[in-house]
């Protein structure tokens, strides 16, 4: 029971951050969603130790573990669009598949390249340190 109340209270804290984000979003007419602003605010607060991690960790863990449940009501909305089971729907799915392949290929190759570059730079630094030492 105590644990349940603890989680509930922590979810309330997360709600407050999401609400503040929404207020900022509306106030400045930003295109970035309010919840993302809330995420960034919470991250900054955690890093600056304004909000201790133990105030949100149970609530965050609970929400993230049951995340799938929260988008089911929105997914059910697909029942209003039976036209998706048509040729256009199939084409759309094909476009998503192709785009996913492209993304994985490009992101994977690029990141591997960046990693190698970063590694080389690190090696260079160590090398120059070593050579200056020996000189």
């Amino acid at each position: 029971m105590k644990k349940f109340l603890n989680i509930l209270l922590q979810i309330c804290i997360l709600f407050i951050f999401s609400y503040i984000g929404a207020v900022i979003h509306n106030l400045f007419h930003l295109v970035i969603p309010g919840s993302i602003i809330g995420l960034l605010l919470l991250f900054i607060c955690l890093c600056l130790k304004i909000v201790p991690v133990k105030y949100i960790e149970n609530g965050a863990g609970f929400l993230l573990s049951t995340l799938m449940l929260f988008f089911i009501p929105s997914t059910v909305g697909i029942m209003n669009y039976p036209s998706l089971l048509s040729i256009q729907g199939a084409l759309l799915v094909a476009a998503i598949l192709l785009s996913t392949i492209i993304t994985i290929a490009i992101a994977g190759t690029a990141s591997q390249f960046f990693e190698k570059k970063a590694q080389e730079r690190k090696d260079d630094k160590e090398c120059s340190k070593f050579s200056s030492h020996s000189a």
Partner: protein
């Protein structure tokens, strides 16, 4: 009073169906049995059988949906836990995530435009590589359709996790960093759970990438739409 009772029944229905489907998924663990897919189908069948329109269902459903906002905020927690890891690999992660996010959004935007899909649908699938709660928000902001966005996210997630190993082989992506970033930026949470099968490092990479993609993607979405006149 009757409406409150009805709303309560809809909430209960969603939760019960969800947990039932989660148990089935854990027992058989085929990727096409993911609870979102099966639970959604079952709820649609139940609603159709009892002639309940979606609008009435959402009287209860909106209460469950309202937890999406705090869930997005909650993503700050895993990001915070991995902050040291993030700082140590800042250059490769940021570069990879940025390129991944751009290629994901631009490729789907162009492909959909070439095929000639209508504007609302394109706007709904632009954020398909972002994690669902964020994709929902981004789609709303762009003026797309939320249900369609979720379908796009699911397709990208499931397919990415299935196809990734083959793509890695063809493109010779062997490093855990490259694999993690590719999975996280193309297939969000499902890619991340696939990444966990490779190694601890691949998993951390993928989960950090997923969160960063969500943040970068919410900035990038409107820009891509604006540049390509979608």
């Amino acid at each position: 009073m009757q409406q409150i009772l009805f709303a309560f029944c809809m909430i209960l229905l969603t939760i019960v169906v969800y947990f039932l489907m989660t148990r089935i998924y854990k027992r058989y663990s085929y990727s096409f049995l993911i609870p979102v897919l099966t639970a959604t189908t079952l709820i649609i069948v139940i609603l159709s059988v009892f002639h309940i329109p979606y609008k009435s269902y959402m009287i209860g459903g909106q209460w469950i949906s309202s937890l999406l906002g705090p869930s997005v905020v909650a993503l700050a927690y895993p990001l915070y836990k991995q902050r040291h890891f993030l700082i140590n690999n800042l250059f490769s992660i940021l570069g990879g995530v940025l390129i991944g996010a751009i290629s994901g959004m631009v490729s789907i935007g162009l492909l959909a435009k070439i095929i000639g899909i209508n504007q609302t649908l394109i706007l709904s699938i632009i954020p398909k590589s972002l994690t669902t709660p964020v994709a929902i928000e981004v789609t709303k902001g762009l003026g797309g359709n939320v249900s369609m966005a979720i379908v796009g996210v699911m397709v990208a997630g499931i397919f990415g996790a299935i196809a990734a190993p083959t793509i890695f082989k063809i493109m010779r992506v062997y490093s855990p960093v490259g694999r993690g970033i590719a999975l996280g930026s193309a297939s969000h949470a499902m890619g991340t759970s696939k990444a966990a099968e490779y190694s601890e490092l691949t998993f951390s990479m993928s989960s950090v990438t997923m969160t960063l993609s969500a943040i970068i993607g919410s900035f990038l979405g409107p820009i891509v739409v604006w540049i390509f006149h979608i």
